[in-house]
Amino acid sequence: MNPILEMAKSRFKAKKVIAVMSAKGGVGKSTIASLIALNLSERQKTALIDLDIYGNSTLKLFGINKLHEVSKEGIEPFLVSNLSIYSIGGLVGDHYVVLPGKDEGNVVESLLGLANVKEDLVVIDTPPGMGEELLTLSRVLDPEIYLVTLPSKLSLKIVKHMLDYLFDLGLKPKMILANMSFLNTTNGRIYPFGELEPVKELGEEFDIRVECLQFDPSIEEFVGRIQDYNGVLKEELARFLICKE
């Protein structure tokens, strides 16, 4: 009997969990996860759990350089207004993380089991790809999935594999978010990855809603203080994700 796994399962049983996933790295998943969580936290208390144990981008996005407090009830969150943030980076500090395969699952299980999450709404920033962390996540939770991708040919090929895999697990994503799909300029709209038809066709093939997000270069200025960002990307996500909930 694995008490930590049981604890993780019971902790999240009655909560609404949104998992932000991506088939490959570098598509803006952590930024999207953070903005979704920030949007949701404007309406109700929300938890954001960073399970990307190697990247730990969440803490860098929010400019958090502290360690988690650990209480009788488990790992206590970093608080940013109405948002409670948990990350393995808050345990290891500024140290790289090296984990052989099955230990990845154990670490994810421990973080989910020991994070003292009180909020009913939880956003999880998952690691890219289809590794052990994703298997662990599906052991513990039944999340609503938002799959982030770039609308590039390479990304879409890998996303298709991920969709096949998720469907095999019985998990159908709620939405595909095609990040950096276009850039609005004074000279009109630019499509850095070309036509958006392929990503829309992929959505049709799997019967999943696709939303194409615009690229906002100003977001770079908010790395380390993403909680202060109120630009178009956050607005778009609010429109797609909250108003239609």
Partner: protein, 135 residues
């Protein structure tokens, strides 16, 4: 400190197990890795307090502290916690009581290396598990 959270997880998972079988639990055998540095007395105290409000109020907790056998996947070297203790001293010093290995023992490969070949790629059972339930 998080021994209380561990004890809570043990009580609730054994209680669930017992309810599914309509069983009366006499003893719970919990196995913890020595590298977790969990305090057995705090675990036992927490278990005894938390169990009072559960269906396993009469259960006794026995804790086994496992000494780990480490096995390097790079060079095949077998070693023990004693062999890497000096590597862990800076973590204990810098992080204090609630150090990462105390909270998540599976992080051991992040902070330690094989003493023979310096690889982080070694295996060890760092899990916390209920080994047996006596009814």
């Amino acid at each position: 400190m998080h021994e209380w959270a561990i004890a809570m997880s043990v009580v609730s998972s054994v209680e669930k197990w017992a309810l599914e079988r309509n069983a009366k639990v006499k003893k719970v055998l919990l196995s913890i890795p020595s590298l977790s540095m969990l305090e057995v007395e705090i675990l036992r105290e927490a278990f005894n307090v938390i169990k009072k409000d559960s269906k396993i109020a009469d259960a006794e907790l026995e804790v086994i502290v496992r000494d780990q056998n480490f096995s390097c996947r790079a060079c095949g070297n077998k070693f023990t916690l004693k062999d890497i203790r000096s590597q862990l001293e800076p973590i204990l010093r810098d992080f204090g009581e609630e150090n990462p290995l105390h909270v998540v023992p599976a992080l051991i490969t992040t902070f330690a290396k094989c003493p023979k070949c310096s690889s982080h790629d070694f295996e060890v059972d760092s899990s916390i598990k209920v080994e047996a339930v006596e009814i």
